[in-house]
């Protein structure tokens, strides 16, 4: 037997309690790993490396529309190969099912997003039919839509000129994604912007977003700077960002993600401190006579303190490392599952912070019981006082 063996044997004195405690530590560090990586996604600065498209919206908010007159100006920016635009329609299917419906210019959108795959004749039909709509394959499969059907969709924002919020569209195509990650996103509907622009009651010639397809080798950061500089101090100031940041900005509408993450982690670790701290305190309380016997045999106060602290460290370390490893695994699975769209990467820095947290937590939960063990007076402890 070794001193380590003695610590391990003591940990398994009450197997169920130890296993439950380790499980709670695993859960806490699993959450820690995932939430920290989530936080790092939202707190990271703009990354233009590898960007092939940029998104331009009104600087104030994406709900403020920009004029279509910007199109030629944007097309004139060096490095921009094609400009597409999109308008949020606020589609509702049947009673109250929200549909991700966007009004787009079919040809421009097709050129900017070759990732959407659909027969060319259907793209042409989409461009040539005013009331046309195309739907993603997932959505079409879900509702059993077939090409040629007339699909009634209401808008919870835009009434027609006659005041009705009910619109009807001709389904002329069903698009799919070019690969697994894009196929997962085929839950959207696109309608013809020209028709929407003419028929809606609220104004004309405006759109929410511009998608700038970059020319090969274009400097994304420079294009961003040029575009936003071009409209600075105009009534329609813009904010241009990468597609990835644009997608994240929707989630950021929920609130300060960093703050939310910090509060969740605070609650998790506070609860964990109570759970593990209580386990350690109970474990020491139960074996006061045994600790006194250790001292009787010649183990110093420091050694006894070391034994108790080692138990706390072992509990937290085993649970913490398993939790972080699971978070790394899950993060990689999420990243793979979303085709890299959601990079839940539990990186080295998160591991370093995690290990530091494990050490701090071990001290926090182990130190008081360990000090109690250290202070035990042999004579009193053996006499049960």
């Amino acid at each position: 037997m070794t001193k380590t063996g003695f610590v391990v044997a003591n940990l398994f004195r009450k197997k169920t309690r130890t296993i439950l405690t380790v499980l709670s530590v695993i859960m806490a560090f699993l959450l820690f790993g995932l939430l920290q990586s989530l936080n790092s996604i939202f707190s990271s600065g703009a990354d233009f490396i590898g960007a092939t498209r940029l998104v331009t919206q009104a600087r104030v908010s994406f709900t403020t529309a920009l004029p279509l007159s910007m199109v030629p100006k944007l097309e004139g920016v060096p490095g921009v190969a094609r400009v597409a635009y999109s308008q949020w329609f606020g589609g509702v299917w049947q009673e109250n099912t929200q549909l991700f419906t966007f009004a787009v210019d079919p040809q421009r959108y097709h050129d900017a997003y070759p990732e959407w795959v659909m027969p060319e004749e259907q793209w042409k039909e989409f461009a040539n039919t005013r009331t046309a709509m195309i739907a993603g394959k997932n959505l079409a499969d879900k509702y059993g839509w077939k090409v040629g059907q007339k699909i009634p969709i209401s808008s919870n924002i835009y009434p027609q000129k006659n005041g009705s919020k009910s619109w009807a569209f001709d389904l002329v195509g069903i698009f799919d994604g070019k690969d697994e990650s894009w196929r997962k996103q085929t839950n959207q509907v696109f309608i013809n912007h020209d028709y929407f622009d003419e028929a809606n009651q609220f104004g004309k010639g405006r759109t929410n977003f511009y998608f700038l397809k970059l020319a090969p080798g274009a400097d994304a950061a420079a294009v961003t700077k040029t575009v936003d500089g071009m409209f600075e101090n105009s009534p329609d100031e813009t904010k241009t960002q990468t597609e990835k940041d644009f997608n994240l900005s929707f989630v950021k509408q929920i609130g300060d993600i960093g703050l939310i993450v910090r509060w969740i982690l605070f609650a998790v670790f506070f609860t964990l401190l109570l759970v593990v701290g209580n386990t350690m305190a109970q474990s020491v309380r139960e074996r006061v006579p045994e600790l006194a016997v250790l001292k009787t045999l010649g183990f110093t106060d420091g050694s006894v303190l070391g034994f108790v602290l080692a138990e706390a460290v072992a509990l937290c370390l085993v649970g913490g490392v398993i939790g972080l490893a699971l978070a790394t695994l899950l993060g990689a699975m999420v990243e793979k599952g979303t085709g890299g769209q959601f990079q839940l990467n539990v990186n080295g820095l998160i591991w370093v912070i995690g290990i530091a947290t494990i050490v701090l937590m071990s001290m926090a939960v182990g130190l008081l019981p360990a000090l109690r063990a250290r202070r035990l007076k042999i004579v009193d402890a053996l006499a049960g006082r």
Binding site: T2, R13, V293, T296, L297, F299, T300, I378
Partner: protein, 229 residues
């Protein structure tokens, strides 16, 4: 048996009980030669266990001198005293005080973790200690799988394994039936007579005291008389 193992001179011991100061031992002096087997008897509260704790270095006197095996243990710090206990004294308790999570052999090995012995040497010493107490065949059993008598034998093996010259036993048969108690006392007698261990044993049981070479009676913190066995 002329050389002293334990020399106690004018020892007093007081405890604080709340706001009260209680003096348990009043200027007690005692000498125990090497190789002696002493039974300490007396009514509850007479100071037997307090005296045993002082001899075993578990507690420090309020005043007076205590020498054990030539070391002035009343002058040692807490850390030095722990180190001294590890090498010079073995303890046997009434309720055995074994570690329930460890096997018999691991319990016996525990004091050896404080030495520089190799794992192989520790294993050898443990085997010898268990053989001396007649429990070689129960080495892999945990305390809950042993009878009271067997548990106490393991505790004696643990006390012996680092080969101390002094064994202090606090009511070692207090939790055992007569037959088992006699076996344990017989074992202590063998350790005293054949292995030369000096034994100081606290007991309430006059029959147990008969196994000792002599009996000391304590009353109200003072020695009354010595009775040779």
């Amino acid at each position: 048996m002329s050389e002293s193992m334990v020399q106690i001179r004018s020892v007093t011991k007081s405890y604080e009980r709340g706001k009260q100061k209680v003096e348990v031992l009043h200027g007690l002096s005692l000498e125990i030669p090497k190789g002696d087997f002493v039974a300490l008897m007396g009514p509850s509260g007479s100071g037997k266990t307090t005296l045993l704790n002082l001899i075993g270095g578990l507690d420090q006197p309020t005043s007076g001198e205590i020498s054990v095996g030539g070391s002035r243990i009343d002058q040692l710090s807490s850390g030095q005293l722990a180190n001294w206990r590890a090498h010079h004294v073995g303890f046997v308790f009434q309720f055995y005080n074994l570690m329930p999570v460890l096997t018999a052999e691991a319990n016996v090995e525990l004091p050896l973790l404080l030495t520089r012995l190799s794992a192989a040497q520790r294993k050898k010493n443990v085997a010898v200690a268990l053989q001396v107490v007649g429990l070689s065949d129960r080495a892999r059993h945990k305390p809950r799988e042993l009878s009271g008598g067997q548990e106490q034998r393991v505790a004696i093996a643990r006390a012996l394994v680092s080969d101390p010259q002094l064994l202090v036993c606090d009511e070692p048969t207090g939790d055992l039936d007569r037959k088992t108690a006699d076996e344990i006392l017989g074992l202590l007698q063998v350790l005293n007579r054949e292995h030369g261990k000096t034994i100081v044993m606290v007991t309430h049981d006059p029959k147990a005291a008969e196994f000792a070479r002599r009996t000391l009676h304590l009353e109200k913190g003072q020695l009354l008389e010595q009775v040779a066995a």
